[in-house]
């Protein structure tokens, strides 16, 4: 219906999540990416186990440290295995991920906050009986 060329538009074609844009890498580079990801993930896992088990750290900080390490490792997986990047062709994929993270945060934090308050005001029968029995 129209003769207008589409090249006036600067936006590039989106990339499917999980795919590396086909033109731009060799097999060697690809494998290297996975190897780096594996090494980093292993490192983060070992550190996590060490932090959890060792008694050298101030105990209250351990859960936070573990969460930070876990998030870092998730990031390693996302970047090196799932190939999420911040390039414009990946924007839709990142937006979707951000939406998912938002919902997860709302559900988890919301539930924990609500349940903490509910439990404080209305302790489940079982826990009350345990407290009374001194268990």
């Amino acid at each position: 219906m129209s003769d207008h060329p589409r090249d006036a538009n600067p936006n590039v074609e989106d990339v499917a999540p999980g795919a590396i844009d086909a033109e731009e890498y060799t097999i060697r580079e690809g494998i290297l990416g996975y190897v780096i990801g594996l090494v980093l993930a292993t490192l983060l896992t070992v550190v996590s186990f060490y932090v959890a088990k060792s008694h050298q750290f101030w105990q209250p900080s351990v859960p936070i440290a573990l969460v930070v390490l876990a998030i870092a490792q998730m990031g390693v997986h996302l970047v090196f295995f799932i190939h999420i990047t911040t390039a414009p062709d990946n924007t839709n994929n990142i937006l979707a991920l951000a939406f998912g993270v938002l919902i997860v945060t709302l559900v988890v934090v919301g539930s924990l906050w609500i349940m903490y308050n509910l439990n404080h005001n209305l302790m489940p029968m079982d826990q009350m009986m345990h407290m009374q029995r001194g268990l």
């Binding site: 219906m1 589409r6 919301g110 349940m115 509910l118 489940p124 029968m125």
Partner: protein
């Protein structure tokens, strides 16, 4: 061998369910036999049951939804009549039965009427408005439909074989645990909702992908019709919220089937976690229903005021705002259950804030009408009725959002009146507006205006006659779900509500008559050009009904309201745009995959309800087998030759050229 299933599952000793179930069952079998005997089955199988065409699937969803709406309405009639009779008396429905009725009423209306109607409308309209041929995953679409149908089937079969849940439309533990609900009712509910929930989730994936990745060339985000934006927001909510429903119900199933202790009284269970999770789904769910309704009204107001939608950008922002904030308010469904002042305050404020988004929309609709040339056709009547009704319902909602007020009104008839006010005002009125608006596009002829207007007035007035008395009863202290009551002060209001239901019933009858009369008069009501309402978006550029491929050539969208611009240019220049070059079109092949998935899901659900483990295993194997068989097929598409495409499109262009010639001089340039 047959688990818990025995002949006693059929309610021999209860006349009402026995007779009604038998009648329904006989009608169902009768219809199937008639279809087969008259030789319609091959056509139905080929063109509808195995269809992966979004238009056909949309129509089937609507049919399912409307039938379930009537079924749920019958439950409502029974409830109102029972309450009208049961003042210091027992009425005609014993408590065990009455409890099943109000549970079935809510379950059917939300899951099997509301959702299918809304999803059906999105199915039919969205690809046409986006200027494309089908959704992202057509066979998945078909599977979604058949899984919803499977769930509806399970709920209905419980009337004849076994019983339904007695715990309300949301199965709160510990009442819903095996200790207090040892029968099969809750299990029927759980499997029906889980199975259809999977279907709905897949619809969410399908439509988000379609709207974000499959649009006509040139259709950027701000060139999409507003209905597509609301469909996007609704489907994003489906993806975000339905997993929470699946999780909460799965935990209850684990408690019931495998003796887990998520929500039990003993061994540390915490039943409030169920309430928390189920409402974290439940609130977004009502927005899933209402957002597409808002989109429908945007389309109707714009078309029937003959003006572009006012404030399109703020509508988009308001829609996305509502989408996100709807995930921040769920505690308002259980203010009274002990979270304390701080938590209640935060969620109460969030609930009031979400009204701002809707307020923006109301103002935009009103400003769309202002200065326009309004046509009071049936869709416009429903839309104006919606504005009045929804504003009232929204205000009672903001009233309930104040925790101290809610402590008085929680679970009273005031609450019942509020949520019916907003759901009927938005979703039902929207569905009826949409039905009248898009019916000609789907079937090629308009619906009769005279009976449409009668249906509107009975429905509109009937709604107020039914629910305003219930608001009053709630303020006088009447709680919900009462099988009988003794307080004389409530009696006149309950009787008034029963009268209101009579008006609603007349509305339903008028709606059915409208359909019958329209079919009889279809030649007079024929929609020749495909554009009966002088529409503004791309679906009106196709013939009525559109060919399987929707558009012979995907439209090249060059601005907002693409069809309106093309149309005005044609009228001004007195000629149609140039005939395009026709090429062969590849469309996805029909497939029985969806139907067989639904079949095995029904088999599996029924088997799990009655503890027939071997049959459940067969069903699981069947589902896997169907999946592999579908994945193995080599040919996904069939080709429509260019000549066939050309023939269909030339017919469409010829009709429009004739219209142009006939109307050229009379056209008024606004």
């Amino acid at each position: 061998m047959l688990g818990k299933l025995t002949w006693n599952a059929i309610p021999w000793d209860q006349p009402i369910p026995l007779v009604s179930a038998s009648v329904v069952f006989l009608i169902f079998i009768g219809v199937i036999v008639w279809i087969i005997v008259k030789g319609h089955f091959p056509y139905l199988w080929r063109e509808w049951i195995t269809s992966v065409d979004h238009k056909r699937i949309g129509v089937m969803y609507l049919l399912l939804g409307l039938v379930m709406l009537l079924r749920g309405f019958i439950d409502a009639i029974m409830m109102r009549s029972q309450q009208a009779l049961a003042f210091q008396a027992e009425g005609y429905l014993p408590p065990e039965h009455y409890n099943q009725i109000f549970s079935a009423h809510g379950t059917l209306m939300i899951f099997f009427a509301g959702m299918p109607i809304v999803i059906g409308l999105m199915n039919f309209v969205v690809p046409l408005q986006l200027g494309v041929r089908d959704v992202a995953f057509p066979t998945l679409n078909s599977t979604s439909f058949w899984l919803s149908a499977s769930g509806a089937f399970l709920v209905n079969i419980s009337l004849l074989i076994g019983e339904f849940a007695r715990v309300g439309w949301l199965p709160y533990p510990p009442l819903a645990e095996t200790t207090y609900s040892p029968g099969v009712g809750v299990d029927y509910y759980l499997w029906a909702v889980q199975i259809s929930g999977v279907g709905t989730l897949m619809t969410g994936v399908n439509f988000v992908t379609t709207i974000l990745k499959i649009r006509a060339p040139g259709m950027s985000y701000f060139r999409m019709p507003i209905f597509c934006w609301t469909a996007l927001a609704s489907n994003l909510l489906i993806i975000a919220a339905f997993p929470v429903l699946t999780a909460a119900l799965a935990m209850l199933q684990l408690d019931r089937y495998l003796g887990f202790h998520f929500f039990t009284n003993e061994a540390g269970g915490n039943m409030m976690m169920f309430i928390n999770l189920i409402w974290a789904w439940g609130h977004p769910e009502v927005y899933i229903l209402v957002l597409p309704a808002f989109g429908i009204f945007s389309e109707v107001f714009s078309t029937f005021s003959r003006k572009p939608l006012f404030g399109y950008r703020s509508m988009v922002i308001a829609t996305l705002f509502i989408c996100i904030v709807s995930f921040c308010v769920w505690l308002h469904h259980f203010f009274t259950m002990g979270a304390g002042g701080n938590v209640n305050a935060v969620f109460g404020i969030a609930t009031s804030v979400i009204a701002v988004g809707t307020g923006v929309k109301i103002y935009n609709w009103v400003f769309t009408m202002y200065g326009g040339r309004i046509q009071f056709s049936t869709p416009m009547l429903w839309s104006i009725g919606f504005i009045v009704t929804f504003v009232i319902g929204g205000m009672t909602g903001v009233l309930l959002a104040v925790p101290p007020a809610d402590f008085q009104l929680h679970n009273s008839m005031f609450l019942v009146a509020h949520f019916h006010n907003v759901i009927i005002g938005a979703v039902l009125f929207g569905a009826l507006a949409a039905l009248t608006y898009w019916f000609p596009k789907a079937f090629g002829f308009r619906l009769d205006e005279y009976w449409g207007k009668w249906a509107f007035w009975f429905g509109f007035l009937g709604f107020y006659a039914t629910f305003v008395p219930l608001y009053v009863a709630g303020l006088l202290g009447m709680t919900r779900r009462l099988q009988h009551y003794d307080i004389a002060m409530w009696r006149p209001w309950v009787l008034a509500a029963a009268f209101g239901v009579v008006l609603l019933f007349c509305g339903a009858v008028a709606q059915v008559i409208q359909l019958v009369v329209s079919i009889r008069r279809r030649h007079e009501l024929r929609d020749e050009t495909g554009d009966p309402w002088d529409g503004r978006s791309l679906e009106w550029s196709t013939a009525s009904p559109p060919p399987a491929f929707n558009f012979a050539v995907l439209p090249n969208v060059q601005g907002e309201e693409p069809y309106w611009t093309i149309k005005r240019r044609s009228i001004e220049t007195q000629q149609m745009s140039a005939e395009p070059e026709y090429k062969p079109i590849h469309m996805p092949k029909n497939s029985p995959t969806g139907f067989f998935m639904g079949f095995f899901a029904t088999m599996g659900g029924f088997a799990m309800v009655w503890h027939i483990w071997w049959l459940a295993g067969v069903a699981a194997a069947g589902i896997y087998a169907v999946f592999v068989w579908f994945a193995w097929r080599d040919v996904d598409e069939y080709e429509i030759p260019a000549e066939e495409v050309a023939a269909a499109d030339r017919a469409r262009r010829r009709v429009r050229q004739e219209w142009l010639d006939a109307n050229a001089k009379a056209e008024e340039f606004a």
